[in-house]
Amino acid sequence: MTEEIIIAGFGGQGVLSMGKIMAYSGMMQDMEVSWMPSYGPEMRGGTANVNVILSDERISSPILRSFDTAIILNQQSMDKFEHSVKPGGTLIYDSNGITKHPERKDITIYRIDAAEEASKLKMMKMFNMFVMGGFMKVKPILKTEYVIKGLKKSLPERYHHLIPMNEDAIKRGMELIRKV
Amino acid sequence: MAELTFKDIIKPENLAYTKSKLMTDNVMHYCPGCGHGTAHQVLAEVLEEENLQSKTIGITPVGCSVLMYNYIDIDFQEAAHGRAPALATAVKRLMPDKFVFTYQGDGDLAAIGTAETIHTCNRGENILILFINNGIYGMTGGQMAPTTLEGMKSSTSPYGRNVSTMGSPIKMANIVAMLPGTCYVTRQSVNTALGARKLKRAIKKAVQYQNEKRGTCFIEVVSNCPSGWKMTPVESNKWMEENMFPFYPLGDIKVPEEK
């Protein structure tokens, strides 16, 4: 099994950290993982994206042009990456701010209104974990218990009290995601 | 009184001056009348008297004193032009109980190595910077230095240093004295026996301050360059007293509070 993922959106949406949590969780599940961010000034306020690979085998190229799953969180990223999903692959997007919805017929498209839900629940900081939950529902590769282990490993101790809230957000995200 | 013969003069009991045991027997390449030889001797005397041979690492510059390591019997590192304070920083940080000094000329310290000089002093590295200022590039044949006086002729200021196009001479000792990292900044000379003794006292103080980890010690030695200035040794010393000393006045610029 090899899952090649791109997460793309605005800086500040937790794109890179969601990727990190995926990578940590994969590591906890004894998988090979890689996390390759776009870096530089574009991170500061502009668009950010990260390639994450989860695999049972040694990972070859950490830099990819086509993906099994694209998680898209703004319109610019939609324009850029909708066509990067492999035929038969998966596209997950948050509809907030999307003016042109994805149109491809050869892939499976899921919508998750995570921003709306997070705002309603006053949990904006958990936005990316709602999306993470949606991903985990439609691509059952990462198990919640390992995600929690990953969070414990990656977060400084002073943030560990937030882990239950992350878990709730993941659960809610699993419920929120809808096939288009 | 019977006149002393040459044989009498060189008898050990009649010697007023002896070479430091840390000076090697290598023949110096310095020009007759140059201040470097005396500065080396004074430094070697301090290292000998303070029992520092086994504890000292010296950093030599690029310039006339590049071969200084041939003349004093201690461990030496030869730095790239201007970089001696960077080497000294690492040596002292990695081996804090050693005595570390740099020995640099005006081109090395005040032109190409200005950044290293300023920042090493600003960090207050516990080292001694010995700065030999003769207002000219000696080794490369008498070009203008950052410390060349206004109107002074050199091979690259053949009509005299024009400050409107070539800038003014830099007083490095005064600049580094403004930095909190320096603890002791002084300007000395070696053109007289008295001057050499004062320099020796200054170096001894620097040894003490380095032991006490009080910050960077910066000793400028205003010196001559008979070859570069195109003068006899005697003329050059006179010229130095009349022209260099008024612009680079001798004496302490910054002294630490006594503990």
């Binding site: 070859s60 950490p62 042009r65 | 690492i57 960077a86 950044a115």
Partner: protein, 355 residues
């Protein structure tokens, strides 16, 4: 103590591995995409744990000269930078090579020339492997292709540097520096307290004074010294060549690629094989010494070699020298911070096969 598993950026792995390898000092100056090395070390603050000195210098020039000073004391010291900063360090590097001092220099390469870009590139190959500064000299150059190797090569580089009293370089790039992967970290090693006989540590009565210099004004002696250096480089070429092969047994066409490009070629290899093209890959791990002999052997069995680099074509010259006309050699490169995708590498292999 057992090895520890962590998820780290390549830059962080270098920093942590340096602490664990018992490094004595790091001297650096911030530049993208490698500032995490200095940041990580400052936060880890090894001065209080292992006694390792970490210092932010006023410039790359000062940093490399601090490395000179520390290395001249026989200490395990290092610096890191990215391309424009490494250019600044070249003066110091040639002095270090000329004074035969061991040290580690890390270059997390970005695109150039000039200020260029902050994105990954492999355009400093010539600079790293052919000298870089003035005079006849070589660095030992290691090219990691994973975060694990970023960590592992720190100790390897120090070992080789001290074995040959020669500066060693880890030639990485922004992709591997910024990428996170799993890394097994070795247990903490104690810093060495050994006093090396050639080092400037203060002259005891029992030996002559040690002088660390790269200066000899006598041309006859300087030439002898040059010959000594060349003999050392030949010895390094004899004993220290390292490379990795992928599916070379039956390969008809061989990719030659190092670092990030070699990762991309591993994927391209799978794609090409799926299309029935018998592709293989040789990944040089040491760029100096270069795996010349092995490439020359492979030239007898393959129909052609395609060097894939993030440069205008630098390493390809070493491939050509290695095969010495025995087989066709092509080049595919992206520049300016662009990274080739596996698909485009395969397309270019097909074009190359057509001739």
């Amino acid at each position: 103590m057992e090895k520890e598993l962590r998820l780290m950026k390549g830059n962080e792995a270098i920093a942590e591995a340096a602490i664990r390898a018992g490094a004595d000092g790091y001297f650096g100056y911030p530049i993208t995409p490698q500032s995490e090395i200095l940041e990580y070390l400052m936060e880890a603050n090894p001065q209080v744990t292992t006694g390792m000195v970490v210092l932010q210098a006023e410039s790359e020039v000062a940093a490399i000269n601090m490395v000179y000073g520390g290395a001249a004391c026989g200490k395990k010291v290092m610096t890191s930078s990215s391309s424009p900063g490494i250019s600044l360090k070249q003066e110091g590097i040639t002095y270090i090579a000329g004074a035969e001092l061991p040290c580690l220099i890390v270059n997390v390469v970005r695109g150039g020339p000039g200020l260029g870009t902050i994105q990954p590139a492999q355009s400093d190959y010539f600079q790293a492997t052919k000298g870089g500064g003035h005079g006849d000299y070589h660095l030992i150059v290691l090219a990691p292709s994973s975060v694990q190797e970023m960590a592992d090569f720190v100790e390897m580089a120090f070992d080789l540097a001290f074995k040959y009293r020669n500066p060693a370089m880890i030639l990485s790039d922004g992709a591997i520096g910024q990428m996170m992967e799993k890394v097994w970290l070795k247990p903490q090693k104690k810093r060495s307290e050994e006093i090396l006989p050639w080092a400037t540590t203060g002259k005891p009565a029992t030996r002559e004074h040690n002088i660390i210099t790269s200066l000899d004004l006598d041309p006859e002696r300087q030439e002898k010294f040059n010959q000594k250096l060349i003999a050392k480089y030949r010895e390094i070429e004899e004993h220290e060549v390292r490379y990795e092969e992928f599916m070379t047994e039956d390969a008809e066409y061989l990719f030659v690629a190092y670092g990030t490009s070699s990762r991309i070629c591993q994927k391209a290899l799978q794609l090409a094989r799926a299309e029935g093209i018998k592709a293989g890959l040789l990944r040089p791990i040491t760029l100096f010494p270069y795996p010349k002999k092995r490439l020359n052997e492979l030239a007898d069995t393959v129909k052609g070699m395609l060097a894939v680099e993030m440069s205008a074509g630098q390493m390809v010259e070493d491939v050509m020298l290695s095969v010495n006309g025995k087989t066709r050699v092509g080049h595919y490169g992206r520049m300016g911070g662009m990274i080739p995708t596996p698909e485009e590498v395969v397309d270019n292999l097909k074009t190359f096969i057509k001739g």
